[in-house]
Symmetry: C2
Subunit: 229 residues, 2 copies
Amino acid sequence: MTFTYPYPHPAVTVDAVVFGFDESDLKVLLIQRSQEPFKDRWALPGGFVEINEDLETAARRELQEETGISRLFLEQLYTFGSPNRDPRERVISVAYYALVKLIDHHIQAASDAMNVAWFPLTDLPPLAFDHEHVLEVACKRLKGKIRYEPIGFELLPEKFPLSELQRLYETVLEKPLDKRNFRKKILSMDFLIDTQEIQQDVAHRAAKLYRFDPQAYQRLRDQGLNFEI
Amino acid sequence: MTFTYPYPHPAVTVDAVVFGFDESDLKVLLIQRSQEPFKDRWALPGGFVEINEDLETAARRELQEETGISRLFLEQLYTFGSPNRDPRERVISVAYYALVKLIDHHIQAASDAMNVAWFPLTDLPPLAFDHEHVLEVACKRLKGKIRYEPIGFELLPEKFPLSELQRLYETVLEKPLDKRNFRKKILSMDFLIDTQEIQQDVAHRAAKLYRFDPQAYQRLRDQGLNFEI
DNA sequence: TCAAAAGTGTTAACCATACACCCATGC
DNA sequence: GCATGGGTGTATGGTTAACACTTTTGA
């Protein structure tokens, strides 16, 4: 079956930059291409948008299909459309970025023939297409957005110690933060709940575990609070 | 001539939300559709992306063709792709927003059969497609971005009094600002140049005219200045 | 001389920053 | 008992916010 149009139409894809955070590393999820073009190169997960499918739905479907990940924070990033991005035909790609809690989401390749893996941002392989550029734009967005919206919690487990939150911010923002000031600030905002639990199996004093309360955040937001780190 | 593909491709358009500022009103540029669908309704300027054309280039071309406006601040806004945005076929629209200096840009309809006009944001006609939604997203972006990037100057004439700049900020942010604090803050940033000229033909004390110096801004930026109103 | 907008400083409250030691735990 | 990270308070300087009157000009 073929589809014909009176004037040429580009293909439209979605690509996703999926970030994960692990101890002290920001990581990104890549899949290894099994076909030309760029066979064997690593690439952002993604694929063609179906003709009756919403863009975000397409991004979620592709992630589910290629990596097994579902139910994650996903937001549109930018649309890339230079004429020669793809050697096969004109392809316009609507890129999304996503944040996942690494421990909750065990990735699985779509098939044995396909590789899926997390790569630290500091040690990436060469990427297919213009995906290095897409990734760069995603990093900038994350770095900008994490400072004034509480999206960092999407990268942490449900319950986390403050030190881990601080490490996350230090990693993303690429600068050290003062421990006392960081705690003072984040706790003063009153949307972290002390779970009354503490770390288990650590070789030092166990830290309290906190939980982000989105309702409380929303309430404070409505009252004019401005989140900022 | 027709174009055929092994699987269906959506059409891709660009749409532009062009903002202008005039005395005390934020305005948006609309064109009246001369054809179905939505014949006679007002809509955002835009049109189909050509098959070998960059997205931003397409947006600029459409603006030039439909309204005569060129050389303006233009930035990608968001990509809208719900399956039923357009009754004819699947259309994915990459929206841009633009800022122009009203007095420099005299608009002209593409043909006598076509209407082009500025509408105050506070008094808009019903719009075609999902353009009301697009416009809303553009307003939010402008409101967010004007606070921490010096894009407001794109809406003012080359030389302007501080009171006009303040009025612009008050209009976009929808809140009054303190005159003394506003002047202190903006002048302390050292990227406004006193042109040594004053207003002409005003029925009161003439104000000094200032000019935004992008080079100075860039220099300060590199030194770590953070613009914020 | 009146109307209309331009221009100008000070104070008090708040917020950001810098900084160092004791505590709890497991090995 | 030591190594590891957890947890805590204060003082200082800078930034923001609130606030009202005089000046200039043209009509």
